[in-house]
């Protein structure tokens, strides 16, 4: 079958009413065929489990026995238990700190690599390195860098007179959470940098020209041109940082298991522990439902604020 470029200029065929109906029916049939496998997979492994998790949050289930209806018991426990309260607090703290650590840095770096200098392109290539590493891999790497006796930082602390580097980064209740925040930033700032790079490149030069005609200096043009123009990038990136860190699990599981004490025990860790270690799956599902709800609320905010994800939305950061 050959279609020459000439067909591009033909006008669409206008058919009769019955032909249109037939076409629509064929279209519906094709839709069903094309979408069913995706919907089946998505329904079976995302939708059903989500409903199941919400259902379980209203039950007592110790794995080994039958599922027993519990009403709001798990929810009452969640909202009265100081342990889950603390986990919620740590989770919010992690999200807030992650935002502080990631968004400004990613914005600065994104603007930086939006520049056209050759060295910046090379930097940009190297910046993406963390995204190639699996979470397990980079956690093991950092574990060794931070190892209190033979780790890379401890070595510097001992041999290069930088004693402040010789800390128990992950073993001190006061430091562990901050250390985790830095490692998460190491992993994810590169991605957010890409968002800001695309956002910065999309700003029309005329805006800067106009600003400089008005006598704006570098700082003023940043505040009055760059920052407002980047608002969609900021919203997108911030929401992703927040959703990501609220549900963060892997690095914490590998590096601290929620400790020392409960200083890094986030909700996701709590859920894993209560579910898979204490085998109280009803209560763990209540925590899981909270996690899911947080994710959904933030995602809806994201869509509302940025138009991201809608058919007509901006696609910066992806394309």
């Amino acid at each position: 079958m050959v279609a020459t470029p000439a067909v591009l200029h033909r006008s669409p065929v206008v058919g009769s009413r019955s032909a249109k109906t037939a076409a629509r029916r064929r279209g519906f049939f094709a839709d069903v065929v094309g979408l069913s496998p995706t919907l089946a997979l998505y329904g079976a492994f995302i939708v059903v489990p989500t409903a199941f998790a919400v259902f379980l949050s209203f039950t007592h289930w110790n794995v080994d026995g039958p599922i027993r209806w519990a009403g709001f018991a798990n929810w009452r426990e969640f909202f009265s238990d100081p342990v889950s309260y603390h986990s919620l607090l740590v989770t919010l703290e992690l999200a807030g700190l992650s935002w502080l650590a990631q968004t400004p840095v990613a914005m600065a770096l994104g603007i930086f690599i939006a520049g056209t200098q050759r060295y910046r392109a090379i930097y940009a290539t190297l910046y993406l390195l963390p995204l190639l590493m699996s979470t397990a891999g980079l956690s093991l790497m950092w574990e060794d860098v931070l190892f209190p006796q033979y780790g890379g930082l401890a070595w510097l602390g001992r041999h290069v007179h930088m004693a402040f580097l010789s800390q128990t980064w992950l073993g001190s209740p006061n430091l562990a959470l901050y250390t985790i925040v830095v490692i998460i930033a190491w992993q994810f700032v590169p991605f957010h940098t890409l968002i800001f790079q695309a956002g910065r490149r999309a700003i029309a030069s005329e805006l800067y020209d106009a600003a400089s005609v008005d006598g704006a200096n570098v700082r003023q043009s940043f505040w009055h041109v760059t920052l407002p123009q980047l608002r969609y990038s900021i919203v997108t990136s911030s929401t992703l940082v927040l959703v990501g860190s609220l549900t963060y699990f892997d690095i914490i599981y590998i590096l601290t298991q929620g400790g020392p004490g409960d200083s890094t025990r986030v909700l996701a860790m709590d859920m894993y522990n209560i579910g898979f270690n204490q085998t109280e799956f009803g209560y763990a599902s209540a925590i899981a439902t909270v996690l899911g709800a947080i994710g959904i609320v933030l995602a809806i905010l994201l869509v509302r604020l940025s138009g991201f994800g809608s058919m007509e939305g901006t696609q910066e950061g992806i394309w």
Binding site: V2, A3, V7, L8, H9, R26, F28, D31, G34, T38, L41, Y42, F45, P49, T50, F52, G115, T116, Y119, Y123, Y127, L128, L131, L132, M133, S134, A136, G137, L140, M141, E143, D144, F147, G152, W155, W186, F191, I195, R201, A204, E206, L207, Y208, D209, S212, V218, S221, T226, L246, F249, D250, A268, M271, G275, L291, G292, I296, G309, M311, I318
Partner: protein, 309 residues
């Protein structure tokens, strides 16, 4: 012949994008024109500090992977003095486990890529056609999945896979992983396929092509770039995933690389042998590094989708 069809809109798409790129270049130049040397130096400094922060731990890891256990304890931690050795790497290759882990991860990645690319392509095509309300509703439902963190549903997934007899199987893991990646993949697919001009579909219809022919002769050739991106996105997601294999598999024969590395490091086999752990991590990154060098553009976009999750 098909290439003609594919080529023409391809150029059209490129043409659409070209002005944006030119504008971007111009704007960057415009922005920089007004900047002082001081601020450019400050930018250089900040960029370099971050570069050091990114590279230092990786460099450290690579260096340690070339040490023997004894050297690890005594030699300079940051300079390659005091002798290097390949013994850790030969130890990794000699161990039976690592080969299995690599193979499992590769299988998982390939399987996931196939499922996600094929399904999202078919779904994306139907969604952009807007032939019926069914596709529009489906799209909304699928998009909703982006918001559901996988951590929130691992408990039901654990029991469901058990009941479905796909617990601790590679294909069970492929299905769950693919399902978790599908929402973002469909979004990427739809956003891209929307760039195919409507006239091309109409032209196909005039030539009497049905949905299937249009799919094979227009959508698949046109969609190649986004298929590559989604492939990388889902491949990365599968290769690096930790939580799902942790919960949905257990036997050694089904262990994937991230889990295997973690187990090496946290249990007995490689205890006290940090260089071997580091060598394993280095090896786990190599396949992706090669891909990254070869397919940088698609890779960056794939990462974009990947990190959305």
């Amino acid at each position: 012949m098909v290439a003609t069809v594919a080529g023409a809109p391809g150029r059209t798409a490129a043409r659409q994008k070209a002005p944006a790129k030119a504008a971007a270049r111009a704007s960057t130049l415009g922005g920089i024109r007004g900047r002082s040397k001081v601020s450019r130096f400050a930018a250089f400094l900040l960029g370099t500090i971050w570069l050091v922060f990114v590279l230092a731990p990786v460099y450290y890891m690579v260096l340690i992977s070339f040490r023997s256990p004894a050297q690890y304890l005594t030699a300079n931690a940051w300079l390659p003095t005091g002798g290097l050795t390949l013994s850790s790497y030969s130890a990794v290759f000699d161990s039976s486990g690592i080969g299995t882990y690599f193979r499992n991860s590769a299988e998982l990645a390939v399987g996931t890529i196939l499922v996600v690319v094929v399904l999202s392509l078919a779904a994306g095509y139907r969604i952009v056609r807007r032939a019926s309300r069914f596709s529009a509703v489906s799209f909304r439902v699928i998009l909703f999945g982006i918001a559901i963190p996988i951590q929130a549903i691992v408990i039901p997934l654990y029991f469901m896979t058990n009941k479905m007899h796909i617990y601790d199987t590679m294909y069970g893991l492929v299905l769950v992983l693919a399902a978790s990646l599908i929402p973002v993949a469909v979004l990427l697919m739809v956003n891209y396929l929307r760039l195919i001009p409507r006239q091309l579909y109409d032209a196909m219809a005039v030539d009497g092509a049905g949905s299937w022919t249009t799919f094979t002769h227009l959508v698949i050739p046109m969609g190649r770039p986004v298929m590559a991106v989604i492939g990388i996105y889902s491949g990365l997601g599968a290769w690096n995933n930790f939580l799902l294999p942790l919960i949905l598999t257990q036997s050694n024969s089904n262990m994937v690389l991230p889990l295997g590395m973690y187990r090496f490091a946290s249990s007995n086999q490689y205890a006290l042998n940090v260089p071997v752990v580091m060598a394993t991590v280095v090896l786990s990154v190599l396949p992706l590094l090669v891909l990254y060098i070869g397919l940088r553009r698609q890779f960056v976009k794939g990462i974009g989708g990947f990190a959305l999750r």
